[in-house]
Symmetry: C2
Subunit: 373 residues, 2 copies
DNA sequence: AAACAGTTTAAAAGGGATTTAAATTTATGG
DNA sequence: CCATAAATTTAAATCCCTTTTAAACTGTTT
C-alpha cells in the first residue's frame, strides 16, 4: 500500500518535497523546495518503460533499440539523474574504487607516478583514493582497512618500511588484489613495478668515475628499503669495479628531501677529505646539495659534481641543470594501473617483478675532476 | 526456508568454502580454501548474541555491558571482521567519504593545504578522495558527479577557472555540501576559506618599495581567478600609493611554476629597462625566477630582488633564502575541513568568506636598490 | 510485589541497479 | 497470411549487511 502510494506520487512529474527529504535532498535556505531523488525507476516510469530497459540503455547495451536509448539518455539528463554506484555494486560486487598509497604524495617522484596512474584509471572510469603512509605501517594498515570497508576493488602501494606480509595478505585475502610500486618486499607474491635501482645508480657512479672522480660520496637512502639497499649496492659495485676503495665516511644514509640534501652538503664540506663528487638519492636531495654547495661559495658542476636520480621536471631547470638518472616514473605508474585493471577484469595475471631500465641524463651539474683550492 | 537453511549453515563454526565465493573471498592459488566473509551476524552467532548487541558494542555504546563488549571486540579481531561501510551507510546515510579537488595536488601550495585537511579528516575517521582538475571545468564536474555517485558526504574545492555556479549547485542540490578554498567564485553562497591576497601582495610590494625599488615587475597569476585579480590589485594599489607609475611591460601574467618563473626571468632580463625587483605569484615562480637570474650571471637578492608568495618549506632553503609572504595554507586546510565536518554534523553553518591574514617573511632574496652595470 | 536500572534482542528499515529467462513485438520468407 | 526468426522489452528475483527502536528480559532494591 505504501508502495502504491509512492508510485502514484512518483508519476507526478513535478516532484516537489512533501515527504521528500530522507537522506539526500536537504532543505536549503533558498526556500525548502527540494528535488526528489531521481533513480532508474524514475526515468522508467516517466517514459513508461521498465527499469531493465533503462539500465541496459544507459550502459549502451546492444539489446536496446537506438531510438529508445536516445530517449532514455535524454530523459536521464533532463531529470538530472545520478548513477548510484553503491546500489550498482550490490549486484556487480565492483565498487569502482581503487586505493593508492605511497610514502608522500607531495614528493614529486610519487607525484609523477600518481599522475600516470590517474590518467590510466580515468580511462576506465575508476575512482582512486589516495593516501600517504609516511612510512608508518599503522597508517598504511588503516588505509587498507578503510579501503576494504569501502569495498575497494584493488590497491596499488609503495609499501611502508617494515610492511609485514600479513598486511598485503589482508588485502588479498579479502578479495582486493594488491600491486606494489617503487619498492619490493621480501617474499611477497604480488606483481611489482619499479626501476632497476642497482643498474641506475651504477650509471650515475660510472659517469662520475669516467670524469675522473675517485672521491665520490653517496647521500641519502636507507638500508630499510629494497630500493635503498639496491642503490647502495650499485654504488659500491661500480666503485669496486673501478678499484676505488669504499670510504664509509662518504656514505650518508637518510636524506630524501631538499632540506636533507642541504644539511648533508654542510656536513660533507666540513670533512677533512672533501668529496669531489656526490651521488644523491634523488633529485630533491641533489638540488638541496647544490644549494648547500652554492651557499658555501663553491660552484656545483665545477668544484663538486652532483648527480640526482629520477629526472623530475625540476631537474632541467635547476641551477646548474642537474645531471640525473631517468627512472621511468610515468611507465611505472601506467603499467601498474594497467596491470591492476587487467587483473580485475580477469584477463591475465601479471605476476612477478617488472623492472624498468633507467637511463642517464647528462647536464651541467657534473664535470671533470678539479682540485679544490 | 532459504533463510533457515542459511542460518543453520552459518552456525557451523568452521566456515569453509562450499557455497562461499560470492563477491568477496576469491580462490587464491594457495589452495582454494577460502574464508567466508565475516559480518556482524557471524560474530553474533559464534558468541550466541544478537547482531544488535554486537553492533552497539563495536561502537562503544554504553548500553552494552563492559564484559560483553570486550568479548565481542576480541571475537571481531579473532575472526578478522571488517566493518562494512556501505551496508552501514544504508542506515546512516553517511558514507564517510569527502572529496577534495584542487588545481594540482603536486603543487606544494595545495600539498600543504591537503596535508592539513588530511590531518583534520583523519581525526574524524573520514576518508578523502583527491583529484586534480587542472583548471578543466569538465574534469571538475566529472569529479563532483563521481563523488555523488559514491554517496560522498561533502566536497572541498578550489574551483577551476570558469566554474559555473550550477556545478556548485549540483553538489548542494544533491545534499552534498561544498566548501571553497583558495579561490572565490562570484555570487556563490557557500563558505570560502582563503588568504587575504590583496593585503598579502601589498606587504611584498611595500617591502620592496621600502628598500628603494621603483621598477618592480609582477610575474604570474591570471585575471581569470579571484586570487589573480586580487593580487594584481594589491600590487597596483601599493605602487600607486607610493606614486610609482604602473608599467604594463613589467606585468607578466601566466606563470605558476618554476619553469614559468625561469622563462619569465629570461624575458625580463631582455627588456631595455630591466626591473630591479620582481614580485612573484608564488614561491615556485620566485625560485624559477632566481634560477633564471643566476643563470644569467646576476645575483638574486643583490642585483635583483625577488619576493615569493606562500612561504613553502622550500622557500627557506632556496639559494638565496627566499623573502616571501606566509599565506597560512595549514590554517586554510584545517579550517575548511573543520567547517565541513561541523556542517555535516549539523552543529553550525560557517557561511561567508573567511580571510586569513598573510604575514611577511623577510630573508635574503631581497635587498636595497642597486644599479645593474 | 512493585519499581527500577542495567542489558539484550527481535525485527523492521534502509537503498537502488543488474540480470536472466521469458514475454512481447516486429520483420522475414514462403 | 501464417510460421518462424529476430529484435526488443520486461518481470521479478537478487545482490549486500548494519542500525535502530521499542520491547523484553534480567536481577536487584525498596
Amino acid at each position: 500500500m505504501y508502495e502504491k502510494c509512492r508510485e502514484a506520487c512518483c508519476k507526478n512529474l513535478t516532484r516537489i518535497g512533501l515527504w521528500g527529504w530522507r537522506g539526500r535532498g536537504r532543505n536549503r535556505a533558498t526556500g525548502g523546495i527540494v528535488a526528489q531523488k531521481v533513480k532508474l525507476s524514475t526515468i522508467a516510469e516517466t517514459l513508461g518503460l521498465s527499469t531493465a530497459t533503462v539500465s541496459l540503455a544507459l550502459r549502451d547495451s546492444p539489446l536496446v533499440a537506438t531510438v529508445t536509448r536516445d530517449k532514455i539518455k535524454e530523459q536521464a539528463r533532463a531529470l538530472g539523474y545520478i548513477y548510484n554506484r553503491r546500489a550498482a555494486s550490490l549486484r556487480t560486487s565492483r565498487s569502482g574504487i581503487i586505493g593508492v598509497v605511497v610514502h608522500d604524495i607531495m614528493n614529486p617522484f610519487y607525484g609523477e607516478i600518481l599522475k600516470a596512474i590517474e590518467a590510466e584509471l580515468d580511462r576506465d572510469k575508476q575512482t582512486f583514493i589516495l593516501s600517504n603512509h609516511y612510512d608508518s605501517v599503522e597508517k598504511q594498515r588503516d588505509f587498507i582497512e578503510t579501503l576494504l570497508q569501502l569495498g575497494g576493488d584493488g590497491v596499488i602501494m609503495s609499501p611502508a618500511i617494515g610492511t609485514p606480509l600479513e598486511d598485503i595478505q589482508l588485502a588479498e585475502d579479502n578479495g582486493m588484489p594488491a600491486i606494489l610500486i617503487a619498492r619490493s618486499i621480501e617474499g611477497v607474491d604480488v606483481p611489482i613495478f619499479r626501476g632497476d635501482d642497482a643498474y641506475g645508480i651504477s650509471l650515475a657512479t660510472n659517469h662520475l668515475i669516467g670524469l675522473g672522480h675517485r672521491c665520490i660520496a653517496m647521500v641519502g637512502g636507507t638500508d630499510q628499503t629494497s630500493t635503498g639497499r639496491d642503490r647502495y649496492q650499485g654504488y659500491v659495485n661500480a666503485l669496486r669495479k673501478a678499484n676505488i676503495e669504499v670510504d664509509p665516511e662518504l656514505r650518508i644514509p637518510g636524506p630524501r628531501t631538499k632540506q636533507g640534501g642541504f644539511e648533508a652538503a654542510v656536513h660533507l664540506l666540513s670533512l677533512p677529505q672533501k668529496p669531489t663528487a656526490v651521488v644523491c638519492w634523488n633529485d630533491l636531495v641533489a638540488i638541496g646539495m647544490m644549494n648547500g654547495i652554492a651557499r658555501a661559495g663553491l660552484v656545483p658542476g665545477v668544484d663538486i659534481s652532483v648527480t640526482g636520480y629520477d629526472d623530475l621536471e625540476e631537474a632541467s631547470i635547476a641551477t646548474p641543470a642537474l645531471t640525473t638518472v631517468w627512472n621511468g616514473q610515468a611507465d611505472v605508474g601506467r603499467s601498474a594501473a594497467r596491470a591492476l585493471l587487467d587483473k580485475l577484469s580477469g584477463s591475465h595475471e601479471p605476476d612477478g617483478i617488472h623492472l624498468i631500465k633507467p637511463e642517464m641524463r647528462i647536464r651541467q651539474s657534473t664535470g671533470p675532476l678539479r682540485v679544490i683550492a
